[in-house]
């Protein structure tokens, strides 16, 4: 019969061995999860990277094989009259969407600051555009304009549709900021003698500004890239995504890839700026 101390020692050894095996298994699981996630990120980006690469291909079709590096497709974009016109249209609508939806969304977020009867209904209502499929949104507004015999136009039907689309996003971003406001700062201002208007403009608004700017940039982004609603709501004028759509049913040249790459870079650039502002 072994003495107690040896038995305990052996038991501890067994326990430690089991613990090591477990820890190693967990380590393996973590490494596996890491590899899986990184692989998935790569797959998420791969097609866009392919587009980017193909836009520099000196070939007449947007396919491999690689025939050499060239900027000519980007030059062709600059010379392409339609591209400049559509870009102007997209820019104009996006800026207008940005202004209107930011004002509406910020006001709404401010109004939601304190609980009131119907508070939840307003919140759900503001999020309703998010659960409405794009085609339904586009089609229903199209019907509205058609019914009242208003001609679809860029700064009419298209703008309206874009604002409805962007509003929930602006609202959510600013609302999060509003919720995070420390009321004591405003109370301090009031205690120090400022009236409500002064407090709002000199304390509340500056504190909200990063969120508002971030929300505005998101609204711009959403409108600039928007396709499906614009498809139903536009009259004859085309935005950049609509122009791109038209090019997709012809023979694909690397010029299309170049246009896509430019749009992607603009979006990413604006997104990074918006992210910077919302994190301030």
């Amino acid at each position: 019969m072994m003495d107690v101390s040896t038995e305990v020692a052996l038991a501890k050894q067994g326990a430690r061995a089991r613990l090591d095996w477990f820890t190693r298994l967990e380590g393996c699981a973590d490494a596996f999860l890491r590899s899986y996630s990184i692989l998935l990120y790569f797959i998420l980006y791969a097609p866009s990277l392919v587009l980017g690469v193909l836009s520099f291909n000196d070939s007449f079709t947007m396919t491999l094989p690689w025939r050499g590096f060239t900027f000519r497709w980007y030059e062709a974009l600059l010379r392409h009259g339609d591209v400049a016109v559509s870009f102007k249209h997209s820019l104009g609508v996006a800026l207008s969407t940005m202004f209107v939806s930011t004002v509406l969304g910020t006001l709404c977020a401010l109004g939601m600051r304190r609980r009131f009867r119907g508070n939840n209904w307003v919140y759900e209502f503001m999020l309703l555009p998010l659960v409405t499929p794009g085609i339904i949104s586009g089609i229903s507004v199209f019907l509205l304009f058609t019914h009242f015999t208003i001609i679809p136009s860029l700064y009419g039907s298209v703008l309206v549709g874009h604002i409805v689309f962007a509003l929930p996003y602006v609202f959510l971003v600013v609302y999060a900021r509003v919720q995070a406001l420390d009321p004591r700062l405003e109370e301090a201002a009031l205690d120090l003698g400022a009236n409500e208007a002064r407090t709002f403009f000199h304390v509340t608004l500056p504190l909200l500004m990063p969120g508002v700017v971030g929300g505005a940039l998101f609204a711009f982004l959403l409108s600039f890239d928007e396709f499906i609603r614009t498809y139903f709501l536009s009259g004859g004028e085309r935005t950049l995504p609509m122009l791109l759509w038209g090019m997709l049913f012809d023979v694909l040249s690397p010029e299309v890839a170049a246009l896509a790459t430019v749009m992607l870079c603009v979006s990413i650039g604006l997104l990074l700026i918006a992210q910077y502002w919302t994190r301030k």
């Binding site: 999860l33 899986y36 996630s37 998935l40 990120y41 797959i43 998420l44 980006y45 097609p47 866009s48 392919v50 587009l51 193909l54 079709t61 396919t63 491999l64 004002v103 509406l104 006001l107 709404c108 109004g111 939601m112 304190r114 009131f116 307003v122 209502f125 503001m126 309703l128 555009p129 659960v131 409405t132 499929p133 794009g134 085609i135 339904i136 089609i139 229903s140 019907l143 509205l144 058609t146 309206v160 549709g161 604002i163 409805v164 509003l167 959403l222 890239d225 396709f227 499906i228 139903f232 995504p241 791109l244 694909l252 896509a260 749009m263 992607l264 990413i268 997104l271 990074l272 992210q275």
Partner: protein, 280 residues
């Protein structure tokens, strides 16, 4: 500050006019009839009878809904581990991983769908790769314009819409709950299944709703990647406002889609609250 809640009025009026009113008009038009001379307000169910008495539209609807359910499940399976990884296991690189998953979220949906065309096409990257690796003798045109391409397109473009809400809800979990589970002796798997996943349900549900809504009402993905056999409900719906121009019939189709989407969301939310009661 009794005036504060009134600040929500502009936004609500806007949505009431340009989201709700259009839907009412869709409802009204769905009960009317399209004739050679124009649209007649007959106030009858002829459009609905046409939809439910044949099999064409019901089959398309079933196809869209089944695809929506499958894609939702796929995105949850593929995306949850990534969200978990970023929220809890990414360490120093969390901010980078987060930005990297937000970029696709905010870039053009159209572009991300389109990006698959040069990858899956007959002369695309995939075929070139397979031929180069001698897996295929020649390029095959079977990848693009197929159900496979449509599924790949859906999962790829909608994955970020699931990962972000799930990330937010995992991130918001109180880490002390996980610690408590460990202290009480639960294994990692047990903690995952019984604590982490049930508590991140709100995020899973939110993400699922976004994915489901997007697939059910999809137009771009099946049109670009599906070919002639890839038609989904959204495409037929869009036709009614394009070539066919049967506004009342299109309205009926739209209304049915909207009702189903709302039912689906209601179901998902009900599922969440039941799970909440059970798991909590």
């Amino acid at each position: 500050m009794g005036y504060l809640p009134w600040l929500v009025t502009p936004a609500c009026v806007w949505l009431g006019l340009f989201l709700l009113l259009p839907l009412v008009i869709v409802l009204v038009y769905s009960l009317w009839e399209s004739t050679i001379t124009g649209i007649r307000p007959v106030w009858g169910l002829q459009n609905y009878r046409r939809i439910f008495e044949g099999t064409l539209y019901l089959r398309l609807l079933a196809k869209s809904l089944t695809t929506a359910v499958i894609v939702t499940m796929l995105t949850i399976l593929i995306g949850y581990p990534v969200a978990y990884f970023v929220a809890r296991k990414s360490g120093r690189y969390k901010a980078i991983f987060l930005i990297l998953v937000l970029v696709p979220f905010w870039t053009s949906f159209l572009l991300r769908n389109f990006a698959w065309m040069p990858v899956l096409g007959t002369h695309g990257v995939l075929n070139q790769l397979l031929v180069g690796l001698r897996i295929l003798a020649q390029p095959r045109p079977i990848f693009l314009y197929s159900d496979l391409a449509v599924y790949i397109g859906f999962v790829h473009t909608l994955l970020p819409y699931l990962i972000v809400p799930v990330y937010v809800s995992i991130e918001a979990l109180d880490p002390r709950l996980i610690e408590a589970a460990k202290d009480l002796g639960a294994s990692k798997i047990r903690t995952l299944l019984h604590i982490t996943i049930p508590l991140s349900m709100p995020g899973i549900i939110s993400g699922s709703i976004i994915v489901f809504v997007n697939v059910a009402g999809a137009y771009v993905t099946p049109r670009l990647l599906g070919g002639s056999s890839g038609i989904m409900y959204g495409n037929t719906l869009a036709d009614q406002f394009g070539a066919t121009y049967d506004l009342p019939f299109g309205s009926a189709l739209s209304l049915i889609l909207m009702i189903i989407v709302l039912l689906g969301i209601g179901l998902l939310k009900r599922f969440a609250s039941v799970r909440g009661l059970y798991g909590a």
